[in-house]
C-alpha cells in the first residue's frame, strides 16, 4: 500500500513498547501489530486521535504517502 505507517519509528523515538501503547490507547496489541506491519485497510479517526495524543505527535508523523501501485480490493 502506498500509505506507510511509521508507528515503530515513533515508538522507538518515544521509547515506548507496543504493550504500553496498547494499554494507553485502548487498542489491542493484535490490532496495533496489524497497523504497525502495514496490513491495516483503514484507520478510524478516533484511533488516530488516541495515538497522536499518547505519542504526542501529528498524524503526518505516523503516516506517510509513497507513490506506487495501489493494492487490489480483494
Amino acid at each position: 500500500m502506498p500509505v506507510r505507517v511509521n508507528l515503530d519509528r515513533v515508538l522507538l523515538e518515544r521509547r515506548m513498547s507496543l504493550t504500553e501503547l496498547s494499554d494507553r490507547v485502548g487498542v489491542t496489541i493484535a490490532n496495533l501489530s496489524i497497523l504497525k506491519t502495514g496490513k491495516a485497510r483503514a484507520v478510524r479517526f478516533s484511533t488516530l486521535d488516541a495515538l497522536c495524543r499518547e505519542l504526542d505527535c501529528q498524524p503526518g508523523d505516523l503516516l506517510t504517502f509513497e507513490s506506487g501501485p495501489p493494492d487490489s480490493d480483494d
Binding site: V27, N31, L32, I34
Partner: protein, 176 residues
C-alpha cells in the same frame, strides 16, 4: 421479533430446514431402495414370479419395470439435488447463528445452490423429453418455467451481494 436466539425467525427457519433435511434424507434413501428393488425385479422377472404368483403382475413389471425404475431413479436424483441445496442452506444458517453471515464460504455455497437449481431444471427438461420419447403414450411435455430460471438468477445476485459483504467484512476486520 428478535433476529437471533430462541423464539426468533431464524430459529423457526432453522427448525424448518432441519425437518426438511431429515425428511429428504429418509425420502431419498427410500427412493434409492425402491429403485434398486424395481431394477432387480425388472431385470429378473423370475424372482418376482416366485414371490408373487400372479402372471399378469409379472408380465406388467417385466414390461414397464425399467421405465418405472428409471423414473424412480430420476426422482431420487432430483430429491438428492434438493437435499444438497438444503444442506448448503443449513451451513449458511450456521454462519448466521454464529453471528458471521458474510463468511466468504457462503458465496461459494450460494453459487453452488444456483448451479444445482439450474441443473435440476435442465435435468427436468431432459427427463421429460426422455420419458416422452420412451413412453409416447404419457402426456408429459417439456415446459419452460420462467420462475425456476428467475430463482437461479436471484440466487446468483444474492451470491454477488454476499461477495461484496465478505469483502466489507474483511475490510472491517482490518480497520483499526
Amino acid at each position: 421479533m428478535r433476529a437471533l436466539g430462541p423464539g426468533s425467525v431464524s430459529s423457526f427457519l432453522k427448525i424448518i430446514l432441519d425437518v426438511i433435511y431429515v425428511g429428504l434424507w429418509i425420502f431419498v434413501s427410500l427412493l434409492s431402495i425402491f429403485t434398486l428393488i424395481a431394477l432387480l425385479f425388472s431385470f429378473n422377472p423370475d424372482l418376482l414370479a416366485r414371490l408373487v404368483p400372479i402372471s399378469d403382475a409379472v408380465e406388467s413389471v417385466s414390461r414397464n419395470g425399467p421405465l418405472f425404475a428409471s423414473a424412480l431413479g430420476a426422482w431420487a436424483l432430483m430429491m438428492g439435488g434438493w437435499m444438497l441445496i438444503v444442506e448448503r442452506l443449513r451451513r449458511i444458517f450456521g454462519t448466521l447463528t454464529a453471528g458471521d453471515p458474510f463468511h466468504p464460504d457462503n458465496v461459494l455455497r450460494l453459487r453452488m445452490i444456483g448451479l444445482i437449481l439450474g441443473g435440476l431444471e435442465i435435468g427436468r427438461y431432459i427427463y421429460t423429453a426422455m420419458s416422452h420419447w420412451l413412453a409416447p403414450s404419457s402426456d408429459s411435455k417439456v415446459s419452460f418455467t420462467l420462475t425456476a430460471w428467475f430463482s437461479v438468477l436471484v440466487v446468483f445476485v444474492l451470491a454477488e451481494v454476499f461477495r461484496e459483504g465478505a469483502r466489507l467484512r474483511r475490510e472491517a476486520e482490518l480497520t483499526i
